[in-house]
């Protein structure tokens, strides 16, 4: 589904990503782990074409999309739920959802919105309120609902648990599992390594923009380096 090789990106003179490769198979949850500043968000931004001057090749659904603009990539079904949700605070909940469908050529029907509201009852009650008044958890749900409206083939989530209570975090992860069970491929960036490894089939660990470990999540859960550095176990 997604195959990226030799990704490189920099903020000015600072290399943020250096030769990272990554694969996400159809129907799979893949996770990217690492500390703050390891390049996780930059990796997602590079995949979506948001990093000017980025190097490497991105193949998506059999097509080389490395040279395409971000909106072109979104239109092909590569959709990001950005870090910090980034809901449009001045637009209503419903308008935010409709913005998710912006790159689509067809107009989303009421049934489709209702399906989202059915999943997120909090959003249904607040559909005509400005998204800026929602709580952090509701904004996260809105950001995910908005991404769903784009009809993604691969949904990329950047730190979906950031700033959420443990209860809301588990709600978000239950949602990710449900979406995956419905056939959605998912690429997850997460600081909470244990949660991410339990939710995924494949994972990649970044340190200072380089890949240090990659493999199946089951193997990584047993990997001494991962356990020592990210899971808080004695190495």
């Amino acid at each position: 589904m997604l195959e990226a090789t030799g990704l490189a990106a920099a903020y000015g003179p600072v290399k943020a990503l250096d030769g990272v490769s990554l694969t996400v198979a159809q129907g799979e949850v893949a996770a990217v782990l690492g500390a703050n500043g390891a390049g996780k968000s930059t990796l997602l931004r590079t995949l979506l074409g948001l990093m000017p001057g980025a190097g490497g090749t991105v193949r998506f659904c059999g097509e080389d999309i490395s040279k395409l603009s971000t909106p072109e990539r979104v239109r092909r079904g590569l959709v990001l739920v950005p870090e910090g949700r980034r809901v449009l605070t001045g637009l209503t909940v419903e308008e935010n959802l409709l913005m998710g469908a912006y790159p689509r050529r067809d107009t989303p029907g009421a049934a489709e919105l209702d399906a989202i509201y059915g999943r997120f009852s909090n959003l249904a009650a607040r559909r005509h309120m400005k998204a800026g008044v929602l709580s952090g958890g509701e904004q996260q749900m809105l950001a995910i609902g908005r991404a769903m409206m784009a009809r993604p083939k691969l949904m990329m989530l950047d730190e979906p648990s950031l700033g959420l209570s443990p209860r809301l975090t588990s709600e978000v992860f239950a949602l990710i599992a449900a979406l995956n069970a419905e056939g959605m491929s998912i690429l997850l960036v997460e600081q909470n390594a244990l949660l991410a490894l339990e939710a995924s089939q494949r994972a990649l660990v970044l340190e200072l923009g380089r890949e240090v470990v990659a493999g199946t999540s089951a193997a990584l859960l047993k990997d001494d380096r991962v356990r020592g550095a990210y899971l808080g176990a004695a190495a």
Partner: protein, 291 residues
């Protein structure tokens, strides 16, 4: 007498309102004070005269003038906005000022600096309601202007393009992440806002039957004042600001004299800004949905 002035004020205010809406669209969505607006206003009004002068029928002349103004607005988008985005924010402003001077002087070179009188396509038609005389062109302009503002509101609030514009206004990067092609939405905004002030220019020339290469300067200054009065970035603020300034101007002319108009208008603007520095309706821009 008062009723007549009320009507005249609203009619003049409708033109300021259109110009103020144009300014506020640029400012609210792009944080861009577009100084080419007076030139687009002038192109609308002046070229209508020029094309009629060349023997074109009225409708063709108006459409031709609007088309030229639309192209001019797109040129400003390409050369001041797009290629200079991301640089110091004052550069597009100064560059748009350059286009104001360029467009005005291109017209000056071709047609000279004299003010020209433009015949009215409506003749001397007017309607009397009691003591109040309504000029047909002015009345038509007022109705069209108000209709267009409501149309614009509807477009911004309900259409896909409107949501796209508002998302770009709030955050170009978030809009991009959602799949909005900012470089397609922004030219449409320039087209829309440019046509608004060009149409105001057409209305001005039809209502007051006088055009000159610099006809945009005075009107746009009032339009700018109207935007600031209403609150920068707020469409309804621009509407109220435009109408209020039109009314004040007409009442100031009759109560004092034409020489005192500027003192009253800008004095009032200053007074309002001292009390409410963000203007009457200005707490937030278009991005924060002050619609």
């Amino acid at each position: 007498m008062v009723a007549q002035q009320l009507v005249n004020g609203l009619m003049l205010g409708a033109i300021y309102m259109m110009v103020a809406v144009s300014f506020t669209l640029f400012f609210g969505c792009l944080n861009f004070l577009n100084f080419s607006v007076p030139a687009l206003f002038m192109l609308g009004g002046f070229l209508t005269w020029a094309f009629v002068q060349m023997g074109m029928p009225w409708v063709v002349a108006v459409l031709g003038a609007l088309a030229v103004a639309a192209v001019a607005s797109l040129i400003v988008e390409r050369l001041t906005w797009r290629i200079q985005r991301g640089g110091p924010p004052l550069i597009p402003l100064v560059s748009s000022l350059g286009f104001l001077i360029l467009f005005e002087n291109l017209v000056l070179v071709r047609w000279g600096s004299d003010a020209r009188s433009i015949p009215s396509p409506f003749g001397d038609a007017n309607i009397r309601i009691g003591e109040v005389v309504l000029g047909v062109p002015q009345l038509a302009c007022l109705v069209v202007a108000i209709g267009l503002v409501f149309g614009l509101q509807f477009l911004l609030a309900r259409s896909k393009l409107g949501r796209g514009i508002r998302s770009v206004a709030e955050s170009p990067e978030t809009a991009t992440i959602l799949g909005v092609e900012v470089n397609k939405v922004v030219p449409r905004l320039f087209l829309l806002a440019g046509l608004f002030c060009a149409l105001a220019g057409v209305m001005f020339s039809l209502s007051y039957q006088l055009v000159s290469p610099f006809m945009g300067d005075q009107v746009a200054l009032k339009g700018l004042a109207a935007m600031v009065l209403g609150g920068m970035g707020s469409v309804w603020g621009a509407v109220i600001g435009g109408l209020v300034i039109g009314l004040i101007e007409i009442f100031a002319i009759s109560a004092l004299s034409a020489d005192h108009v500027s003192v009253v208008v800008y004095g009032l603007l200053l007074a309002v800004l001292i009390v409410r520095p963000t203007g009457l309706f200005g707490d937030a821009g278009l991005g924060q949905q002050k619609l």
